[in-house]
């Protein structure tokens, strides 16, 4: 079928061996005028080297301040079918487990009331339904909540839809029940999820082990990452089987052929803290020096497993570049058990939010507020004790928290005068 608008530049994107979103949209455009105009608008943006979506737009459903992202195009005269092209975010189930029945119904709703275009999944994890008109928002919301038992996700200055890795459902390394934690956060913080009250967005992400499959450490304002505080479990028989070539290293991830594992080169020498030793018969690990990098466990999954005294490490402040550059999360709680009813965790979260809402500037992520006011202020507000495990390499880069008021006999310090005597 010939499409309404010519799209020579978009057509280029269909060439090559990769799947193309242009092909996807064209397929939908055969039956949906909205997708047809979307292609035309995008081609024009490429031509003008300028986006043709207006910034912002404020639409939503009653009772919620988030979940719908308003989009209007600036040339409704040329592309009337995308005059409105609002996005709806749907809260995905924990670990993205759903039945095909739900997915079919979801697509049916969107085929009828939206553009038919979906994005499984957005980077927050939500199901993204692309393109609908203002008058369809309430009917879609009604069907989602009443017929499918699904809810809208977070957008704007909300708590965003919490997300997690597959966790204990399918992964033997998971040290915590990531799905239960995600469900608990979702249900406990419904107000924060639906009614924006923060200076800016706030993301929770939960990974079951330090492999961190949801990249919580890089993306979440509060990352919950599974860990253990006892020893890595070793099956010496299986270690020898890897070395003897009876097992496939890396669980087959780098080739499914059986081969002898060069344990010295592929495991021992790659340990970042050099806390392992292989004497030809037995593997020895000095667990006190282990930083939970997971490399040895990933290479020899049949031989090594995380310990049994499991819990989580809590980090805060990760974000992509916004006001300041990208940041990884900083450890603030080295170990917490993370078991229901998660009271200790809730207390921490609420203290953290109170501080951020009080001190944070408009559109400032938690990590940026911490950067501006200092980790010391954050730890005081959340009543956490500073701990050497919060520091990257404590012996090289020590920093000591003290409150001059708490030093017996008092203590004062003039940093300027000090710097004159000791040049930095």
């Amino acid at each position: 079928m010939a499409l309404k608008h010519k799209t020579p530049m978009l057509d280029e994107l269909e060439k090559g061996p990769w799947p193309s979103f242009v092909t996807d949209i064209k397929r939908v455009a055969e039956r949906k005028p909205m997708a047809e105009d979307l292609l035309g608008l995008l081609e024009m943006s490429y031509e003008h080297k300028e986006g043709h979506w207006k910034h912002g737009g404020i639409v939503g459903v009653f009772g919620y301040g988030g979940g719908v992202i308003g989009r209007y195009c600036d040339r409704p005269d040329l592309f009337p079918n995308v005059a409105h092209f609002h996005t709806m975010r749907v809260n995905q189930p924990a670990s993205k487990f759903y039945t095909t029945e739900v997915l079919r119904k979801l697509c049916d709703i969107w085929e009828e009331k939206g553009s038919g275009l979906t994005n499984m999944h957005g980077s927050t994890g939500d199901i993204i339904l692309l393109g609908t008109t203002t008058d369809q928002l309430e009917p879609i919301f009604y069907e989602l909540t009443h017929d499918l038992g699904m809810d809208l996700g977070g957008s704007g200055s909300n708590m965003r839809t919490p997300s997690c890795c597959v966790g204990k459902a399918r992964c033997e390394w998971s040290c915590i029940d990531t799905q239960d934690i995600t469900y608990d956060i979702t249900m406990r913080y419904q107000d924060e999820l639906h009614r924006p009250m923060f200076p800016y967005k706030f993301k929770f992400k939960t990974s079951g082990c330090p492999n961190d499959c949801v990249a919580a450490i890089a993306r979440a304002d509060c990352s919950i990452i599974g860990t253990w505080r006892d020893k890595i479990r070793i099956d010496q028989e299986a270690v020898r089987a890897y070395v003897g070539g009876e097992l496939v290293p890396n669980g087959g991830a780098h080739g499914t052929e059986k081969r002898a594992l060069d344990i010295q080169k592929e495991v021992i020498d790659l340990c970042p803290t050099k806390c392992m030793e292989w004497d030809g018969k037995n593997l020895k690990i000095w667990d006190e020096d282990c930083t939970r990098c997971m490399h040895c466990i990933n290479v020899m999954p049949r031989a090594l497993r995380p310990g049994l005294d499991t819990g989580a490490t809590i980090l805060v402040g990760a974000k992509a570049p916004i006001l300041e550059g990208a940041q990884l999360g900083s450890v603030v709680i080295p170990f917490i058990k993370m078991e229901p009813p998660y009271e200790e965790f809730h207390e921490f979260v609420e203290k953290m939010w109170d501080w951020w809402m009080e001190e944070g500037k408009n559109r400032e992520r938690l990590g940026e507020t911490i950067q501006r006011l200092g980790m010391k202020a954050f730890l005081e507000a959340t009543e956490l004790q500073p701990d050497p495990r919060m520091v990257n390499t404590p012996r090289y880069n020590p920093y000591i928290f003290y409150d001059p008021a708490e030093v017996p006999g008092g203590w004062s310090h003039d940093p300027k005068a000090y710097r004159e005597r000791h040049h930095a």
């Binding site: 404020i58 939503g60 009772g63 301040g65 200055s157 809402m357």
Partner: protein, 105 residues
């Protein structure tokens, strides 16, 4: 820009239904908007929120952050959503005649 006529007044509005200028605000506007915002009867509490928003806007030239609105009115955010079902930004600011809150999503 679409125009709306109501009780002898004419309002220019954008695609989200916000009036183009705070100076054009008048009580008739509130009367006109309330229905599309899902509000049956305007109470003193609605007016308190509207007046707080307008006072802040006159003083600072922007809408207050949600936290300031809840502090000054003493209403919890959830209650503000009960008063204005589409929320403080989309509902209350629109009724108060403030410019559309911009925001990244």
């Amino acid at each position: 820009m679409p125009q709306i006529e109501y009780k002898g007044k004419v309002f220019d509005v954008d695609e989200d239904g916000f009036i183009d200028s705070f100076d054009k605000w008048c009580p008739e506007w509130v009367e006109y908007v309330k229905e599309s915002e899902g509000i049956q009867e305007l109470t003193e509490e609605h007016w308190k929120v509207i007046h707080v928003l307008q006072d802040y806007y006159r003083k600072h030239g922007i809408a207050p952050m949600v936290r300031i609105l809840t502090k000054v009115t003493g209403y919890k955010l959830k209650y503000i959503y009960e008063l204005f079902p589409s929320g403080p930004g989309k509902g209350a600011c629109k009724m108060a005649g403030l410019p559309k809150p911009t925001g990244c999503v």
